[in-house]
Symmetry: C2
Subunit: 217 residues, 2 copies
Protein backbone atom coordinates (compact mmCIF):
# COMPACT_ATOMS: atom_id res chain seq x y z
CA UNK A 1 0.00 0.00 0.00
CA UNK A 2 1.25 3.46 -0.93
CA UNK A 3 0.31 6.16 1.58
CA UNK A 4 0.54 9.85 0.72
CA UNK A 5 0.59 12.45 3.47
CA UNK A 6 -0.73 15.66 1.96
CA UNK A 7 -3.04 18.63 2.10
CA UNK A 8 -5.40 19.65 -0.65
CA UNK A 9 -3.89 23.12 -1.06
CA UNK A 10 -0.25 22.02 -0.95
CA UNK A 11 1.37 22.38 -4.38
CA UNK A 12 4.17 20.01 -3.47
CA UNK A 13 1.57 17.36 -2.54
CA UNK A 14 -0.30 18.17 -5.78
CA UNK A 15 2.84 17.31 -7.78
CA UNK A 16 2.99 13.90 -6.13
CA UNK A 17 -0.76 13.24 -6.45
CA UNK A 18 -0.58 13.88 -10.20
CA UNK A 19 2.60 11.79 -10.55
CA UNK A 20 0.95 8.83 -8.82
CA UNK A 21 -2.08 9.24 -11.08
CA UNK A 22 0.06 9.45 -14.23
CA UNK A 23 1.71 6.19 -13.16
CA UNK A 24 -1.70 4.64 -12.50
CA UNK A 25 -0.76 3.92 -8.87
CA UNK A 26 -3.47 3.61 -6.24
CA UNK A 27 -2.70 5.24 -2.90
CA UNK A 28 -4.22 6.02 0.45
CA UNK A 29 -4.38 9.72 1.23
CA UNK A 30 -3.69 10.98 4.76
CA UNK A 31 -4.61 14.66 4.94
CA UNK A 32 -2.91 17.04 7.37
CA UNK A 33 -4.66 20.39 7.68
CA UNK A 34 -1.78 22.86 7.33
CA UNK A 35 -3.79 25.92 8.31
CA UNK A 36 -4.75 24.20 11.55
CA UNK A 37 -1.12 23.12 12.10
CA UNK A 38 -1.91 19.40 12.04
CA UNK A 39 1.40 18.70 10.29
CA UNK A 40 3.17 19.67 13.53
CA UNK A 41 1.48 16.87 15.50
CA UNK A 42 3.99 14.64 17.29
CA UNK A 43 3.20 11.47 15.35
CA UNK A 44 3.61 13.17 11.99
CA UNK A 45 6.79 14.97 13.10
CA UNK A 46 8.13 11.51 13.93
CA UNK A 47 7.56 10.51 10.31
CA UNK A 48 8.60 13.83 8.71
CA UNK A 49 10.68 15.92 11.16
CA UNK A 50 10.17 19.06 9.05
CA UNK A 51 6.44 18.91 9.69
CA UNK A 52 5.82 19.56 6.01
CA UNK A 53 3.84 17.69 3.38
CA UNK A 54 4.16 15.63 1.28
CA UNK A 55 5.68 12.45 2.65
CA UNK A 56 5.20 9.13 0.91
CA UNK A 57 5.17 5.73 2.58
CA UNK A 58 6.14 3.22 -0.08
CA UNK A 59 8.07 -0.07 -0.30
CA UNK A 60 8.81 0.09 3.42
CA UNK A 61 10.38 3.56 3.20
CA UNK A 62 9.25 7.02 4.22
CA UNK A 63 10.24 9.43 1.47
CA UNK A 64 10.25 13.21 1.84
CA UNK A 65 10.51 16.12 -0.63
CA UNK A 66 8.25 16.03 -3.69
CA UNK A 67 11.01 15.99 -6.31
CA UNK A 68 12.87 13.14 -4.59
CA UNK A 69 9.59 11.24 -4.31
CA UNK A 70 8.78 11.67 -8.01
CA UNK A 71 12.29 10.60 -9.04
CA UNK A 72 11.87 7.47 -6.90
CA UNK A 73 8.49 6.68 -8.46
CA UNK A 74 9.96 7.11 -11.92
CA UNK A 75 12.93 4.87 -11.21
CA UNK A 76 10.94 2.08 -9.55
CA UNK A 77 7.76 2.30 -11.71
CA UNK A 78 9.20 3.33 -15.09
CA UNK A 79 6.00 3.45 -17.17
CA UNK A 80 5.02 5.97 -18.34
CA UNK A 81 8.34 7.80 -17.88
CA UNK A 82 8.32 11.22 -16.21
CA UNK A 83 11.88 12.06 -17.26
CA UNK A 84 13.48 11.67 -20.71
CA UNK A 85 16.10 8.99 -21.29
CA UNK A 86 18.99 11.22 -22.41
CA UNK A 87 21.01 13.02 -19.75
CA UNK A 88 20.81 16.45 -21.39
CA UNK A 89 17.04 16.10 -21.55
CA UNK A 90 16.91 14.96 -17.93
CA UNK A 91 18.98 17.98 -16.91
CA UNK A 92 16.67 20.30 -18.86
CA UNK A 93 13.54 18.85 -17.27
CA UNK A 94 15.05 18.93 -13.78
CA UNK A 95 16.22 22.50 -14.35
CA UNK A 96 12.72 23.64 -15.37
CA UNK A 97 11.20 21.76 -12.44
CA UNK A 98 13.67 23.27 -9.96
CA UNK A 99 13.13 26.76 -11.33
CA UNK A 100 9.62 26.33 -9.92
CA UNK A 101 10.29 24.12 -6.91
CA UNK A 102 13.39 25.97 -5.64
CA UNK A 103 13.04 29.53 -6.91
CA UNK A 104 9.31 30.26 -6.89
CA UNK A 105 7.36 27.94 -4.64
CA UNK A 106 9.38 27.98 -1.36
CA UNK A 107 9.39 31.78 -1.15
CA UNK A 108 5.58 31.81 -1.43
CA UNK A 109 4.94 28.91 0.91
CA UNK A 110 2.27 29.25 3.62
CA UNK A 111 4.86 29.28 6.43
CA UNK A 112 6.71 32.16 4.72
CA UNK A 113 3.53 34.19 4.13
CA UNK A 114 2.53 33.62 7.74
CA UNK A 115 5.87 34.95 8.91
CA UNK A 116 5.42 38.06 6.78
CA UNK A 117 1.98 38.56 8.33
CA UNK A 118 2.67 37.64 11.95
CA UNK A 119 6.32 38.33 12.76
CA UNK A 120 6.83 41.22 10.33
CA UNK A 121 3.30 42.62 10.63
CA UNK A 122 2.87 43.04 6.89
CA UNK A 123 -0.61 44.06 5.73
CA UNK A 124 -2.35 41.79 3.21
CA UNK A 125 -1.65 43.95 0.10
CA UNK A 126 2.10 43.64 0.79
CA UNK A 127 1.75 39.87 1.19
CA UNK A 128 -0.13 39.65 -2.12
CA UNK A 129 2.51 41.77 -3.87
CA UNK A 130 5.25 39.52 -2.46
CA UNK A 131 3.43 36.38 -3.60
CA UNK A 132 2.83 37.58 -7.13
CA UNK A 133 6.29 39.14 -7.48
CA UNK A 134 8.09 35.80 -7.16
CA UNK A 135 5.72 33.98 -9.47
CA UNK A 136 5.99 36.71 -12.12
CA UNK A 137 9.79 36.81 -11.90
CA UNK A 138 10.02 33.02 -12.19
CA UNK A 139 7.39 32.72 -14.91
CA UNK A 140 9.10 35.37 -17.03
CA UNK A 141 12.22 33.17 -17.15
CA UNK A 142 10.25 29.93 -17.50
CA UNK A 143 8.28 31.34 -20.42
CA UNK A 144 11.54 32.27 -22.21
CA UNK A 145 13.07 28.86 -21.56
CA UNK A 146 9.96 27.07 -22.84
CA UNK A 147 9.14 29.33 -25.80
CA UNK A 148 12.77 29.48 -26.92
CA UNK A 149 13.56 25.77 -27.04
CA UNK A 150 12.90 23.21 -29.77
CA UNK A 151 12.66 20.61 -26.98
CA UNK A 152 9.37 22.09 -25.82
CA UNK A 153 6.42 20.28 -27.33
CA UNK A 154 2.85 19.83 -26.30
CA UNK A 155 4.28 19.66 -22.78
CA UNK A 156 7.42 21.18 -21.19
CA UNK A 157 9.64 18.57 -22.81
CA UNK A 158 8.26 16.83 -25.87
CA UNK A 159 4.76 15.50 -26.22
CA UNK A 160 4.34 13.57 -22.98
CA UNK A 161 3.85 15.04 -19.51
CA UNK A 162 6.68 14.76 -17.01
CA UNK A 163 8.45 16.19 -13.97
CA UNK A 164 8.54 19.78 -15.21
CA UNK A 165 4.80 19.75 -15.99
CA UNK A 166 4.14 18.34 -12.51
CA UNK A 167 5.75 21.48 -11.08
CA UNK A 168 4.29 23.92 -13.60
CA UNK A 169 0.62 23.07 -13.09
CA UNK A 170 0.35 23.59 -9.31
CA UNK A 171 2.31 26.83 -9.65
CA UNK A 172 -0.12 28.13 -12.28
CA UNK A 173 -3.00 27.14 -10.00
CA UNK A 174 -1.31 29.10 -7.19
CA UNK A 175 -0.93 32.09 -9.48
CA UNK A 176 -4.72 32.24 -9.48
CA UNK A 177 -4.87 32.65 -5.69
CA UNK A 178 -4.19 36.37 -5.88
CA UNK A 179 -5.21 36.77 -9.52
CA UNK A 180 -1.80 37.22 -11.13
CA UNK A 181 -2.21 38.25 -14.79
CA UNK A 182 -1.03 35.28 -16.86
CA UNK A 183 -1.31 37.04 -20.23
CA UNK A 184 2.49 37.48 -20.54
CA UNK A 185 3.04 33.71 -20.38
CA UNK A 186 1.29 32.12 -23.38
CA UNK A 187 3.46 29.00 -23.49
CA UNK A 188 2.97 28.34 -19.78
CA UNK A 189 -0.79 28.77 -20.23
CA UNK A 190 -0.85 26.47 -23.25
CA UNK A 191 1.04 23.70 -21.43
CA UNK A 192 -1.09 24.14 -18.31
CA UNK A 193 -4.23 23.65 -20.41
CA UNK A 194 -2.74 20.58 -22.12
CA UNK A 195 -1.99 19.07 -18.70
CA UNK A 196 -5.43 19.77 -17.27
CA UNK A 197 -6.97 17.97 -20.26
CA UNK A 198 -5.43 14.81 -18.76
CA UNK A 199 -7.39 13.04 -15.98
CA UNK A 200 -4.24 12.62 -13.83
CA UNK A 201 -3.79 16.38 -13.43
CA UNK A 202 -7.50 17.02 -13.05
CA UNK A 203 -7.68 14.35 -10.31
CA UNK A 204 -4.78 16.01 -8.52
CA UNK A 205 -6.44 19.44 -8.42
CA UNK A 206 -7.03 20.85 -4.93
CA UNK A 207 -10.82 21.02 -5.35
CA UNK A 208 -10.92 17.31 -6.17
CA UNK A 209 -9.34 16.22 -2.88
CA UNK A 210 -11.39 14.64 -0.11
CA UNK A 211 -10.07 17.18 2.40
CA UNK A 212 -10.85 20.21 0.23
CA UNK A 213 -12.91 23.00 1.67
CA UNK A 214 -15.08 25.64 0.01
CA UNK A 215 -13.22 28.92 -0.68
CA UNK A 216 -13.56 31.47 2.10
CA UNK A 217 -15.78 34.49 1.60
CA UNK B 1 35.91 22.96 -21.82
CA UNK B 2 33.54 23.18 -18.86
CA UNK B 3 32.56 26.73 -17.96
CA UNK B 4 30.91 27.58 -14.63
CA UNK B 5 29.05 30.84 -14.19
CA UNK B 6 29.14 31.66 -10.51
CA UNK B 7 29.76 34.08 -7.70
CA UNK B 8 32.01 33.43 -4.76
CA UNK B 9 29.27 33.98 -2.18
CA UNK B 10 26.58 31.94 -3.98
CA UNK B 11 25.87 28.71 -2.12
CA UNK B 12 24.29 27.14 -5.17
CA UNK B 13 27.47 27.84 -7.13
CA UNK B 14 29.51 26.51 -4.19
CA UNK B 15 27.67 23.17 -4.47
CA UNK B 16 28.65 22.89 -8.13
CA UNK B 17 32.25 24.02 -7.54
CA UNK B 18 32.72 21.31 -4.95
CA UNK B 19 30.98 18.70 -7.14
CA UNK B 20 33.31 19.50 -10.05
CA UNK B 21 36.28 19.25 -7.71
CA UNK B 22 35.10 15.92 -6.24
CA UNK B 23 34.87 14.61 -9.80
CA UNK B 24 38.33 15.96 -10.57
CA UNK B 25 36.99 18.06 -13.46
CA UNK B 26 38.84 21.19 -14.56
CA UNK B 27 36.64 24.18 -15.37
CA UNK B 28 36.80 27.81 -16.34
CA UNK B 29 35.10 30.12 -13.84
CA UNK B 30 33.09 33.12 -15.06
CA UNK B 31 32.23 35.28 -12.05
CA UNK B 32 29.11 37.47 -12.01
CA UNK B 33 29.05 39.96 -9.15
CA UNK B 34 25.55 39.48 -7.71
CA UNK B 35 25.70 42.49 -5.41
CA UNK B 36 26.50 44.70 -8.39
CA UNK B 37 23.71 43.05 -10.43
CA UNK B 38 26.06 41.72 -13.10
CA UNK B 39 23.94 38.58 -13.44
CA UNK B 40 21.19 40.75 -14.97
CA UNK B 41 23.43 41.81 -17.90
CA UNK B 42 21.81 41.11 -21.27
CA UNK B 43 24.34 38.55 -22.44
CA UNK B 44 24.06 36.49 -19.29
CA UNK B 45 20.25 36.72 -19.28
CA UNK B 46 20.43 35.27 -22.78
CA UNK B 47 22.25 32.27 -21.34
CA UNK B 48 20.26 32.00 -18.07
CA UNK B 49 16.95 33.90 -18.34
CA UNK B 50 16.50 33.87 -14.56
CA UNK B 51 19.63 35.95 -14.13
CA UNK B 52 20.78 33.63 -11.37
CA UNK B 53 23.93 31.62 -10.83
CA UNK B 54 25.08 28.94 -11.32
CA UNK B 55 24.86 27.96 -14.96
CA UNK B 56 27.17 25.35 -16.43
CA UNK B 57 28.30 25.17 -20.04
CA UNK B 58 29.22 21.56 -20.72
CA UNK B 59 29.08 19.09 -23.62
CA UNK B 60 27.45 21.75 -25.84
CA UNK B 61 24.62 22.39 -23.36
CA UNK B 62 23.82 25.20 -20.96
CA UNK B 63 22.56 23.68 -17.73
CA UNK B 64 20.76 25.62 -14.99
CA UNK B 65 19.85 24.84 -11.37
CA UNK B 66 22.57 23.42 -9.14
CA UNK B 67 20.84 20.12 -8.34
CA UNK B 68 20.09 19.40 -12.00
CA UNK B 69 23.70 20.23 -12.84
CA UNK B 70 25.10 17.89 -10.19
CA UNK B 71 22.79 15.06 -11.28
CA UNK B 72 24.03 15.56 -14.86
CA UNK B 73 27.67 15.48 -13.76
CA UNK B 74 27.05 12.31 -11.79
CA UNK B 75 25.31 10.56 -14.68
CA UNK B 76 27.86 11.52 -17.32
CA UNK B 77 31.02 11.34 -15.16
CA UNK B 78 30.14 8.52 -12.76
CA UNK B 79 33.34 8.37 -10.69
CA UNK B 80 33.37 8.98 -7.83
CA UNK B 81 29.58 8.68 -7.44
CA UNK B 82 27.68 11.48 -5.72
CA UNK B 83 24.49 9.44 -5.32
CA UNK B 84 24.12 5.87 -4.03
CA UNK B 85 23.19 3.09 -6.43
CA UNK B 86 19.97 1.91 -4.75
CA UNK B 87 16.78 3.88 -5.35
CA UNK B 88 15.82 4.18 -1.68
CA UNK B 89 19.27 5.56 -0.95
CA UNK B 90 19.01 7.97 -3.88
CA UNK B 91 15.64 9.17 -2.60
CA UNK B 92 17.07 9.68 0.88
CA UNK B 93 20.04 11.69 -0.41
CA UNK B 94 17.86 13.78 -2.72
CA UNK B 95 15.41 14.38 0.13
CA UNK B 96 18.16 15.62 2.44
CA UNK B 97 19.60 17.77 -0.34
CA UNK B 98 16.22 19.27 -1.17
CA UNK B 99 15.45 19.95 2.47
CA UNK B 100 18.33 22.43 2.17
CA UNK B 101 18.02 23.52 -1.47
CA UNK B 102 14.21 23.95 -1.48
CA UNK B 103 13.24 24.69 2.11
CA UNK B 104 16.14 26.67 3.57
CA UNK B 105 18.30 28.28 0.93
CA UNK B 106 15.74 29.96 -1.39
CA UNK B 107 14.00 31.79 1.45
CA UNK B 108 17.34 33.28 2.55
CA UNK B 109 18.62 34.13 -0.90
CA UNK B 110 20.12 37.58 -1.56
CA UNK B 111 17.18 38.65 -3.76
CA UNK B 112 14.73 37.74 -0.98
CA UNK B 113 16.71 39.57 1.72
CA UNK B 114 16.95 42.60 -0.56
CA UNK B 115 13.18 42.61 -1.01
CA UNK B 116 12.72 42.51 2.76
CA UNK B 117 15.08 45.46 3.09
CA UNK B 118 14.02 47.58 0.14
CA UNK B 119 10.36 46.91 -0.66
CA UNK B 120 9.24 46.03 2.86
CA UNK B 121 11.59 48.44 4.63
CA UNK B 122 12.69 45.89 7.21
CA UNK B 123 15.53 46.97 9.51
CA UNK B 124 18.63 44.78 9.62
CA UNK B 125 17.82 42.99 12.92
CA UNK B 126 14.56 41.72 11.36
CA UNK B 127 16.44 40.54 8.28
CA UNK B 128 18.95 38.70 10.45
CA UNK B 129 16.15 37.09 12.49
CA UNK B 130 14.45 36.00 9.25
CA UNK B 131 17.69 34.52 7.90
CA UNK B 132 18.53 32.56 11.00
CA UNK B 133 14.92 31.43 11.58
CA UNK B 134 14.78 29.43 8.35
CA UNK B 135 18.19 27.87 8.83
CA UNK B 136 17.38 26.88 12.43
CA UNK B 137 14.01 25.40 11.44
CA UNK B 138 15.56 23.41 8.61
CA UNK B 139 18.63 22.31 10.58
CA UNK B 140 16.46 21.06 13.43
CA UNK B 141 14.79 18.62 11.03
CA UNK B 142 18.01 17.81 9.18
CA UNK B 143 19.78 17.01 12.45
CA UNK B 144 16.99 14.58 13.41
CA UNK B 145 17.02 12.90 10.00
CA UNK B 146 20.81 12.51 10.09
CA UNK B 147 21.23 11.54 13.74
CA UNK B 148 18.30 9.12 13.62
CA UNK B 149 19.29 7.06 10.60
CA UNK B 150 21.67 4.08 10.33
CA UNK B 151 22.36 5.24 6.75
CA UNK B 152 24.25 8.25 8.05
CA UNK B 153 27.96 7.59 8.20
CA UNK B 154 31.01 9.78 8.13
CA UNK B 155 29.00 11.84 5.63
CA UNK B 156 25.23 12.34 5.15
CA UNK B 157 24.87 8.95 3.49
CA UNK B 158 27.57 6.41 4.22
CA UNK B 159 31.27 7.10 4.24
CA UNK B 160 31.70 8.97 0.98
CA UNK B 161 30.64 12.56 0.23
CA UNK B 162 27.71 13.15 -2.10
CA UNK B 163 24.83 15.36 -3.16
CA UNK B 164 23.45 15.92 0.35
CA UNK B 165 26.87 16.95 1.68
CA UNK B 166 27.24 19.34 -1.26
CA UNK B 167 24.12 21.12 -0.01
CA UNK B 168 24.89 20.88 3.70
CA UNK B 169 28.31 22.53 3.62
CA UNK B 170 27.40 25.84 1.91
CA UNK B 171 24.35 26.12 4.17
CA UNK B 172 26.51 25.70 7.28
CA UNK B 173 28.88 28.32 5.90
CA UNK B 174 25.87 30.64 5.41
CA UNK B 175 24.77 29.99 8.97
CA UNK B 176 27.97 31.72 10.00
CA UNK B 177 27.01 34.94 8.20
CA UNK B 178 24.80 36.11 11.04
CA UNK B 179 26.39 33.90 13.68
CA UNK B 180 23.62 31.32 14.14
CA UNK B 181 24.41 29.09 17.12
CA UNK B 182 25.21 25.65 15.71
CA UNK B 183 25.49 23.90 19.10
CA UNK B 184 22.08 22.18 18.71
CA UNK B 185 23.23 20.41 15.53
CA UNK B 186 26.18 18.15 16.44
CA UNK B 187 25.72 15.72 13.54
CA UNK B 188 25.54 18.55 11.00
CA UNK B 189 28.70 20.05 12.51
CA UNK B 190 30.50 16.71 12.47
CA UNK B 191 29.67 16.09 8.79
CA UNK B 192 30.56 19.66 7.87
CA UNK B 193 33.98 19.20 9.45
CA UNK B 194 34.48 15.87 7.66
CA UNK B 195 33.68 17.54 4.33
CA UNK B 196 36.01 20.49 4.91
CA UNK B 197 38.84 18.06 5.58
CA UNK B 198 38.56 17.17 1.87
CA UNK B 199 40.36 19.43 -0.62
CA UNK B 200 37.32 19.53 -2.97
CA UNK B 201 35.18 21.30 -0.36
CA UNK B 202 37.99 23.54 0.82
CA UNK B 203 38.67 24.59 -2.79
CA UNK B 204 34.99 25.43 -3.22
CA UNK B 205 34.87 27.72 -0.20
CA UNK B 206 33.93 31.35 -0.96
CA UNK B 207 37.21 32.75 0.34
CA UNK B 208 39.16 30.53 -2.07
CA UNK B 209 37.48 31.91 -5.20
CA UNK B 210 39.30 34.31 -7.53
CA UNK B 211 36.42 36.82 -7.31
CA UNK B 212 36.27 36.78 -3.51
CA UNK B 213 36.45 40.05 -1.64
CA UNK B 214 37.54 40.85 1.91
CA UNK B 215 34.64 40.91 4.40
CA UNK B 216 33.12 44.35 4.89
CA UNK B 217 33.70 46.29 8.10
Amino acid sequence: MIRLHGYYRSSAAFRVRAALALKGLAFELVPHHLRKGEQRAADYMQLQPQGLVPALEIDGHVLIQSMAIIEYLDATRPEPPLLPKDEAGRARVRGLAQLVSCDIHPVDNLRVLNRLRRELGQPEPEVVAWYNHWIAEGFEALEKLLAGSPDTGRFCHGDAPGLADLCLVPQVVNAGNFKLDLAPYPTIRRIHAACLALPAFEQGMPHNQPDSEPPAG
